[in-house]
Amino acid sequence: MSDVVLVVLNRPEQAPFLLDAAAELRQLAGGGRVQVLPLQAPSPLLATADSGLMDEALQIIITEGKDRRQALRGVYDQWVARGTIDGVQSHWIDAAGPCVTDVEQHGRRADYIVIGRPCPDDDASDRQGFRAALFRTERPLLVVPPGGSGGFGRRIAVLWRDDGRAIKALLPAIRLFGHAERIDLLAGVRPKSPEPKLPPALAEHGIKAELHVLEIGSGAFARTLLDRATKLGADLLVMGAYAHNPLKDLILGGVTRDILAWAELPVLMRH
């Protein structure tokens, strides 16, 4: 058995960082194979329905889509040729379907998914691809910041909530803790609420961790959390992704949204 790491590529300039992060993750998981999924450009049909584009504009979109695919393929081929990480078995997926289906299909049978942090100028297919990876695959997602991740997995910070769901988000990540020198649990508390405790499930799984209590004040909690993670020298943040679910329209919770906007370190999250 070898683990499967699915890496979802969209922006050519980010692609090398994502491929490196996938190789690093594969190393932490103890070997495995990297599957590379280039995200489709937005569907021209959708674009015409939205804005009533003329034929010429349609042609531009189709060409841009092809160009992006070619550029991504070029980056991938270079990465393979560079061969910096020994023996990484990788496979380029020639996906043809709509991006949501592709991400869901390939994502749910992978062990981990690597994807770039969403950016404000992402196009529709990038956003759909990210949402599909987070909400429709039920797999842990490694979100890589724009500047790349460097090495990670030595010093791990875990955002902890004592609500019974956090542990489910944490369990699949535990397999990556084998190289950690230090594991810190960061728990937010509101004034006057009971002190959080280290969850017994960690000790049962053979994990030693230190608990840090952060006060939830009036400012953005994600900021407090990221500052503390930086101070602790964390190279990876592990968290559950929380969503409100009014009528199936999944809207991310505040902390998750802020972290996805600000994190400069890789974040392993699970919905």
């Binding site: 058995m1 019974g164 397999r175 803790f177 190289h179 950690a180 020198e181 499930a201 053979g206 030693k208």
Partner: protein, 310 residues
């Protein structure tokens, strides 16, 4: 977990202590675990939660947990016995919980758990397991303990199952979000050498399969059984196995007039399978969770261990 010097069987007879037996293979994992001085902050062990309810089902449940622990590698086995609180045993509004009645109920549960403990202590290798005795309602306790384990092992209830058996199964399948290994009555032996997979290309089956992929490569043979209706596109071998580097043979089973669950079990036996992996499907997920036809058939008729997940 000390071994008691004298043992009482369920009937209350005192038995002489057992002669020292060679340590079973899985007991070495405990020694690995208690070594101190880790180089790293983590030394991952999988956690297996074995749920015990009836004394006669304890040996097969523990044997299955031990087999699984050996397959997984470094695993900790938590064996949990759940005592029902007296308030849960009466019909509110119709019965009044008097103090003597409450004490009788507490005593009854205490005796039941003591009988479970006797069976636990008799099991060779039980000293490597953790014994957990909690008072609480079955569903939340299984949700809590199961949710933080990697896999749950429990017996498939025999023909006359109780309300508690069904509550336990329901909680494990629908509230823990974990894979559940169900051990049928009269099963003994081992599993994991010849594994059958009831394949359907959907998320339940994949969710059941993904955690098992870690130890499936220890199997000698893996048989994928996929049903298809006449006229439909013939199913193809699942990509997930090849991607994970696991070799398997593929069998397409026609879905005909008969009960498909029966065809699945028959095919699994023809292939000499000792374990069946399947997704657990439900009808009407909006209001109450009722198991789908094939899943229900499998749980009612399986005579080999079944690994399911919802």
């Amino acid at each position: 977990m000390g071994v008691v010097p004298q043992q009482r069987c369920v009937l209350g007879c005192v038995h002489a202590p057992r002669q020292a037996e060679p340590p079973p293979v899985w007991s070495r994992f405990r020694h690995r675990r208690i070594l101190s001085g880790f180089e790293t902050a983590a030394r991952m062990t999988d956690v297996i939660l074995a749920v015990v309810e009836h004394p006669e089902a304890v040996p097969r449940t523990l044997a299955a947990a031990a087999t699984l622990a050996a397959l997984v590698g470094d695993a900790r086995v938590n064996v949990i016995a759940i005592r029902s609180p007296p308030e849960a045993e009466i019909v509110p509004g119709e019965e009044v919980l008097t103090r003597p009645h409450a004490e009788r109920l507490i005593e009854r549960e205490r005796a039941r758990v003591a009988a479970l403990r006797v069976e636990f202590d008799r099991f060779p290798g039980a000293e490597a397991f953790e014994w957990i005795d909690v008072e609480g309602l079955i569903e939340p306790v299984i949700e809590d303990w199961g949710g933080r384990a990697d896999i749950i092992v429990m017996p498939l209830p025999a023909s006359e199952d109780t309300v508690a058996d069904r509550a336990a199964l329901h909680a494990a399948l629908f509230r823990s979000d974990r894979p559940v290994l169900l051990v049928p009555p009269r099963w003994h032996g081992s599993f994991g050498r010849r594994v059958a997979i009831a394949w359907r290309d959907d998320r339940r089956t994949i969710k059941a399969l993904i955690p098992a992929l870690r130890w499936l490569d220890k199997a000698e043979r893996i048989e994928v059984l996929a049903g298809f209706r006449a006229g439909a596109v013939a199913p193809s071998p699942p990509a997930i196995l090849a991607e994970h580097g696991i070799a398997a043979s593929f069998h397409a089973l026609p879905i005909g007039e008969g009960v498909f669950g029966a065809a699945l079990l028959k095919a699994a036996h023809e292939q000499g399978a000792d374990l069946l992996i399947a997704g657990a499907f439900v009808h009407n997920p909006l209001r109450t969770l009722v198991l789908g036809g094939v899943t229900r058939y499998l749980l009612a008729h399986a005579d080999l261990p079944v690994l399911v997940r919802h």
